[in-house]
């Protein structure tokens, strides 16, 4: 049994302009100890997915349908009490902006030990000891004296480390990292990513890493899901995704990564922006931006299929699946792109720029 199974999750936001479907029939699984990446542009529904796992979607959002099974139990059917005992304790979250994720009126140590006391029932002294050990583990020097510092006395990188320590405080089984390094510069980013990876291994924690940065995914993850407009468009093991992307959107994302030694004058981008989710294009929601779009794309909505066979994709971890009409035989022109692999290892190639 997988650690986390998300099945047909649909989340709607009822706004004044109309209903926004932030997550549309989303399914994925995360195995124990696995590192799962979720990529997509801003507004693709990545963070909403994460918040749904904790059942923290707020008004006017609503989880419409689907199941989120964590260790076999459906989170969406739990009582508020049961969900609270999972939050922080079994599923924890690393937030994007560490500066606002720490409460300015309490010391950093106090904020971390509060969760430890709450979930693990430690007394004041034990919680303090554990917090100091955690701070030490995430690489904060002089953890003992730093315990009683306020968040504003920490630098950005240290704040992020403190947030990671907070997320790890109760040995969660699943760690959701929502763009954990976006606010940091690249050198710190590389260190923090290494740290997350090491700590996850040490604590045997699964990670769901949310980012818009394919380089970060390449560095850490085992499997990747690419999201577009609330839908998964491609799911694959990380190497396959980089060597052999099957969806035009994935290709577009990868070609817009700047490379060192690139001779092009302009960075290639995906034209236009993500559609307004109130009014998603008919058919394939990516077709207005897709260079290979045909008339069929405006009519028929593609499903996730195995690109080899064209049959509906299974949910086995090693499967590669893409949602493009090409693979169900509806396109006449085909997808006209080639993937050029420079160097041996795609991880090295993409990871290079960040180390």
């Amino acid at each position: 049994m997988a650690l986390l199974e998300v099945e047909d999750l649909t989340v709607n936001f009822y706004t004044e302009e109309g209903v926004v479907t932030a997550c549309d029939d989303l399914s994925y699984t995360i195995e124990r100890g696995e590192k799962f990446g979720v990529v997509g542009e801003s507004g693709a529904g990545k963070s909403v997915t994460a918040m749904s796992l904790m059942r923290l979607i707020e008004e006017p959002g609503q989880i419409e349908s689907g199941e989120i099974r964590f260790k076999g139990e459906n989170i969406l059917e739990m009582s508020e009490e049961e969900v609270r005992s999972i939050r922080g304790n079994e599923i924890a979250m690393i937030f994007q902006d560490a500066q606002t994720a720490l409460n300015p009126v309490y010391t950093v140590g106090e904020q971390i030990s509060e969760a430890i006391r709450h979930h693990l029932g430690y007394d004041e002294d034990d919680a303090r000891d554990r917090t100091i050990r955690l701070l030490d583990q995430v690489g904060i020097p002089e953890a003992e004296t730093r315990y009683s510092d306020y968040p504003h006395e920490f630098s950005g990188g240290m704040q992020q480390r403190a947030v990671i320590a907070m997320a790890l405080s109760c040995d969660p089984d699943l760690l959701i990292a929502d763009e954990p390094t976006t606010a940091l510069d690249v050198t710190i980013e590389a260190k923090i990513l290494d740290q997350i990876e090491d700590l996850a291994e040490e604590f045997d924690t699964s990670i769901q890493l949310i980012t818009h940065d394919l380089g970060v995914i390449a560095q850490i993850c085992d499997r990747v899901m690419v999201m577009y407009a609330g839908k998964p468009v491609e799911k694959a093991p990380v190497e396959e995704l980089y060597y052999d992307p099957k969806h035009p959107y994935t290709v577009g994302l990868m070609s817009s990564i700047p490379r060192i030694g690139d001779t092009r004058d302009r960075l290639q981008t995906i034209p236009d922006t993500m559609p307004d989710l109130v009014d998603v294009p008919t058919g394939c929601s990516f077709h207005p931006r897709c260079p290979y779009a045909e008339e069929a794309c405006t009519r028929k909505e593609p499903v996730l299929v195995d690109p080899e066979t064209g049959h509906e994709a299974g949910s086995a971890p090693g499967d590669h699946a893409a949602a493009c009409l090409e693979y169900t035989g509806d396109l006449t022109g085909g997808l006209d792109y080639t993937v050029e692999v420079q160097g041996e290892d795609p991880r090295a190639q993409l990871g290079d720029q960040r180390e």
Binding site: R84, S85, G88, F95, T100, N103, M166
Partner: protein
């Protein structure tokens, strides 16, 4: 700073003016005031008359019944000042909880709770206070009630607005994501970050309430006539302001209690401004409440 010194001095004087007894036990034996504020002096000492001008024996003169003004002004602070603090404490406390719940939960809870606040705001506060006193009769606690009932709404609205912006911070989500209860999220994580303007508002309001109590006293409501209380004392000496031909106005009878109100409220506003500067809570507070620092 000056404001704080003045207020502390006045509170000190008024507490130690006469001995305090609680349930027959004397808890504060010191008596700084020279006379009992209720003593009609000329019954004991025929040399003291009505409306004696200030003299060495009676630095603030005597009032219409020949009572020592200084003692009355000193003791009179008890009612005014303590009502000020009690009312602000009650209104602030209730408004805080009410506004926090309303702002945090949002949606229809917020909608209903804020319409109740609007209803309270729709009454003119002083008129509402008059009605409450008329219903409950006069006395210390009915005065408190008269100010608490319309007073909490302002705090509720203030704290709600503040919480609406604070709850968008990621640390609130972070606290929820760590499995904290709503109650602890609100009162441990949201409220401490939203409370600054409320504290400023509260320190400014103490002065306003003291003026309100004096105003009700002056209207003859609030305390029974003859009670040493600044507003009631002003009311008792009201007729002396207009004299027939040849009469002289006993200015001390009105200037001293009025001056006490003025100084106290002024000092309170200075504290409020000081707190405002210290907490750097802008915008929500009326500008130009007077006072230096």
């Amino acid at each position: 700073m000056l404001g704080l010194i003045v207020v502390t001095a006045m509170v000190f004087l008024t507490i130690f003016a006469r001995p305090v007894e609680i349930a027959g036990i004397t808890v504060q034996p010191i008596a700084l005031a020279p006379n009992d504020p209720q003593n009609i002096l000329y019954l004991q000492d025929p040399s003291v008359g009505r409306y004696d001008p200030p003299s060495l024996n009676h630095p603030m003169g005597t009032d219409a019944s020949g009572r020592d003004m200084l003692s009355r002004v000193m003791v009179g602070g008890r009612a005014s000042i303590s009502i000020g603090f009690v009312v602000v404490f009650l209104t602030g406390g209730f408004g805080l909880v009410y506004g926090a719940i309303s702002g945090y939960y949002g949606g229809w809870v917020d909608e209903v709770m804020m319409r109740v606040v609007d209803t309270v705001f729709a009454f003119p506060a002083l008129v509402l206070a008059l009605v409450i006193i008329a219903v409950l009769g006069s006395g210390y606690w009915s005065l408190v009630a008269a100010f608490v009932f319309p007073g909490w709404a302002g705090y509720a609205r203030l704290i709600r607005g503040e919480i609406l912006s604070v709850k968008e911070n990621e640390y609130v989500t972070a606290a929820q994501a760590l499995g904290a209860r709503d109650r602890s999220v609100i009162f441990r994580h949201v409220v401490p970050n939203a409370i600054a303007p409320l504290i400023v508002q509260a320190s400014l309001s103490i002065g306003t309430v003291v003026i309100g109590v004096a105003a009700l006293g002056f209207l003859g409501l609030g305390f029974p006539p003859g009670t040493p209380e600044w507003g009631t004392m002003l009311d008792a000496t009201r007729e002396t302001i207009i004299q027939g031909p040849g009469g002289s106005i006993p200015w001390w009878a009105t200037v001293f209690p009025g001056g006490a109100i003025f100084i106290f409220v002024m000092a309170m506003n200075m504290i409020g401004d000081g707190v405002n500067d210290a907490l750097d809570a802008q915008s929500n507070v009326d500008v130009g409440q007077g006072g230096a620092n």
